[in-house]
Symmetry: C2
Amino acid sequence: MRKRPHYVLDDQVGYLLRRVTQRHLALFSGAIPQVTTTQFAVIARLAEAGPLSQNHLGRAVAMDAATIKGVVDRLARQGLVTTAPDAGDKRRLTVSLTDQGQVLFAGTVQTALGVSEGTLAPLDGAERAVLMALLARLT
Amino acid sequence: MRKRPHYVLDDQVGYLLRRVTQRHLALFSGAIPQVTTTQFAVIARLAEAGPLSQNHLGRAVAMDAATIKGVVDRLARQGLVTTAPDAGDKRRLTVSLTDQGQVLFAGTVQTALGVSEGTLAPLDGAERAVLMALLARLT
DNA sequence: CGGTTTTTGTATGTGTACAAATCAGTTTGG
DNA sequence: CCAAACTGATTTGTACACATACAAAAACCG
């Protein structure tokens, strides 16, 4: 004799995630129009880890092979990264940050951190910490 | 004399949101392959609110005009919704759920709720409530 | 050693997602 | 009442995001 569960769209995690992400993307593209959040993630990873093969890079930023290829292509077109064939392994394509890419990163990190803060702005410090910890566990 | 803040990609909200969303999408498409989360949101909204003009529908599910058009087109192609010109306002296109769409919704709501649960599975009841409340405030 | 399996990169197709431009129709204000 | 402002829908262009399929190279293994 269970009641028919009525589905409330606005109470579904997926829907909330999509909307919060929308807001975050809007903040980011307003603050750093040169690159997308996805592209920035790749730049940040390269800045932190140094040159990586395209596939490794993809894994390091949670993008599949097809997606990372497109992102790298677009970053390369902007001159922010370069690709070079690997000497040892002929299948590999090593992706590196260019000087221009490093300059862009250095010049926008601060702003990017501000965007993260802006996204979390409605919450106080303790709440932010809780949210981040909970999100991290849903990964 | 502030320390240069080092940017930790894995600690950024945007990155976490993307990864949690990825996991959620994977769960959903595994459980309900017929439609995407986006399409399901539209169906759910129509089931709850009844026929709406395309633009209104878009707003009701947080999609812009171009996006909702694509989603409605694909749902129409599957026979899950129909569109009809509005009698009163000639600009409007009324979107309604078909019988088939209603059947699909009725037959998958339970599973969809299960997907929401699955996404939150790593958290206990109290934590889920906290997360949902915090996410709702970031909208 | 030689064959099977994996890995890497690439290509293609489908589906969001948004900006910007356009056009038709509706509403409003002078 | 009519021009101006607004709204609804569509189109185009760019950018993820993943599935699938493929070729070449590398790793593994019996």
